[in-house]
Structures are given as C-alpha cells and as structure tokens.
C-alpha cells in the first residue's frame, strides 16, 4: 500500500507499523517525532500503531534556527 512520508510516496507492506517504518529508514535511535494524519504518535506505541493506505506521515526533528 501507499503512504505519504515527508511529502514523498512510499510503498509499505499492509498492516505494517510506524515502528517498522522508522526501522526501514534506520532512524529508530534518532530524536524524531512522528505525526500520523496530523496526530502526534507517542514513542511508546510506535510498534502497535498500524499504518493505513493513504496515511500522511510527518517525521520531524530539531534543526538549526533562531
């Protein structure tokens, strides 16, 4: 199925989780915050949160700024 991740279309397996998505990008250990359809997902439930076809996922972090 297709989801949108940070503005790009990404193909993921049916019923995969946010935890698996982060693993696929190799960013589990980084200080990321994840939004699924504009809802912030708590880190503790990444592995239980199922992705749905058409989901919009934003993975954000802190960058330099004033």
């Amino acid at each position: 199925m297709q989801i949108h991740v940070n503005g790009r279309q990404v193909e993921v397996a049916k019923d995969s989780t946010i935890g698996e998505l982060l693993k696929s990008f190799n960013i589990q250990a980084k200080l990321a915050v994840v939004e699924q359809n504009q809802q912030i997902i708590n880190k503790t439930v990444y592995d239980e949160t199922i992705l749905t076809n058409g989901d919009t996922i934003e993975i954000v972090h802190f960058v330099g700024g004033g």
Partner: protein, 254 residues
C-alpha cells in the same frame, strides 16, 4: 538571574543555532557565548538521506535549555502544531511563538501571534512570544499570561539594531515579565545597548552565525550583554546639552 516560567538562568544571552558555516564553528560559538538557552526550529527529517548530520548530536544537550521556535508558521494553528511536535521530543517545555505575517519584512502577525500564545498557554507551555515593538500588543500579551515578551529590535536577520528605542523603552518600563530583545541585533554594541535600556536578555542568531568569525563574535556578544547589564544596574549619567569639566576648577597653576 533571569527567571522565565520558574526557571532561572545566569546568562542573559540566548543563542540561535541557524546558518553557521560548519557544525564545528557552531559548537565552538555556542561554548564561547556561555549561553544556557539555545533556540531551534522544527523541520522534516531528511529520512531519505540517512547520512545527514544531526545538529543535536553535536551538542551536549544536558548543558542547555532548549527553546524551539514555531518559525515557518503563518497561522496560529500552524504554530500550535509545530509547538506540540517540539514538546513531543520530551526535551523542552518552552516555546518561542513566532508567526510571520509578512514575508518581506518577516514582521509577526499580531492577531495570529496572540491566538497561538493563548492556546499554548492553555496547553501548559512556557510561552515566549516574538512580537514587534508594538507597546500595546506587548501589554496585551503580558495580560494574556505569556512568560516573556520578545520584541524585535528590527526585522529578523536584518542586522539593523534597535530602530525604535522609544517603543522598546516603553515596553521594558511597563512589563512585569522578562523582556528579551529578539531579532535584528547586528553588533555587540546593539546587544549592549538593548541591555543598557533595561532589557532582561537578548536573543540573537545571524549576528553570530553570519559574522566572519562566529566564535569571536559569540564571545563579544557574551561580553556585550554582561557589560550592558552592568551599565544598566550602575545607572548611566543624564545627558547634558553642554560640556562640564571633569578636572577641578580650583588651585589652577598661574
């Protein structure tokens, strides 16, 4: 000591982390500034390039309080969304509310700024609001309960210094909460002047990151903020129209 939302700081200089030539110079500039508060922006992670360096990994975050901003927001809703994302990192409670209303001048949208500040206060954030030098708006923000007012000296990144001294003085005089002069500071004298006027602190970024020597400039800014604060506490002499001799007028040699 500078106290914001129940937290106290020795340093009155807050430093932005944007646009340094290298991570190394940034790290050294942060150390030279002796700041205790660093600002950040919230952006999409470049997940498609896992080698992209992460700024946070270069800094010892235990030593600093983080002040993320809502830069990029043009509406209150966008600012609130960014603030929630920032808080979800679990690294900070403070938020610098910044809602830009004009792309050319980068001046804040007062209506959306107020709306976002009120919403974030309701959600329990420690709110530091970036605002113009509008005196009444600063008062209204204080009445709404924000923890600090951050009037711009001049447009963000312009390096113009303080262009409306009188408004800034009015804001400082009327405020019972910290006033942090944010945006537009170009040189150490600008920072010192803001502190001499009685500002509680200064937030700057480009003045350091864009300097030829960011590390030296960070130190210069640290000294300027300290110097200005000390001068403010000491109380400057009144200005006079004409000269007044400082050497004795008696026992003249004839």
């Amino acid at each position: 000591m500078l106290t914001i939302g129940g937290k106290s700081f020795h340093s009155r200089l807050m430093l932005g982390t944007g646009k340094y030539p290298t991570f190394q110079s940034q790290k050294k500039a942060v150390i030279a500034s002796k700041t205790e508060i660093l600002t950040f922006a919230v952006r999409r992670m470049n997940i498609f390039d896992e080698n992209e360096p992460n700024l946070l990994e270069e800094l010892d975050l235990q030593q600093y309080d983080l002040l993320p901003n809502t830069a990029g927001a043009k509406t209150a809703n966008e600012a609130v969304r960014i603030a929630r994302l920032a808080k979800a990192t679990g690294l900070c409670d403070m938020i610098k509310v910044e809602v830009i209303g004009c792309e050319k001048t980068l001046l804040p949208d007062p209506f959306e700024t107020m709306k976002a500040s009120v919403q974030l206060l309701e959600e329990g954030f420690t709110v530091l609001t970036y605002t113009s030098d509008d005196v009444v708006l600063a008062k209204r923000l204080e009445e709404a309960g924000v923890h600090a007012i951050m009037p711009g000296a001049s447009p963000i990144g312009s390096g113009q210094g303080i262009i409306n001294t009188m408004n800034l003085q009015f804001i400082i005089e009327q405020s019972d909460i910290p006033v942090i002069v944010d945006a537009g500071i170009g040189s150490p004298s600008d920072a010192a002047y803001a502190m001499e006027l009685g500002a509680d602190g200064v937030l700057l970024n480009t003045a350091v990151s864009g300097a030829k020597g960011p590390i030296q400039m960070a130190e210069a800014m640290r000294l300027a903020v300290q110097s200005g604060r000390l001068g403010y506490k000491a109380g400057r002499i009144p200005k006079r129209m004409y000269g007044m001799k400082s050497s004795p007028e008696t026992a003249m040699i004839e």
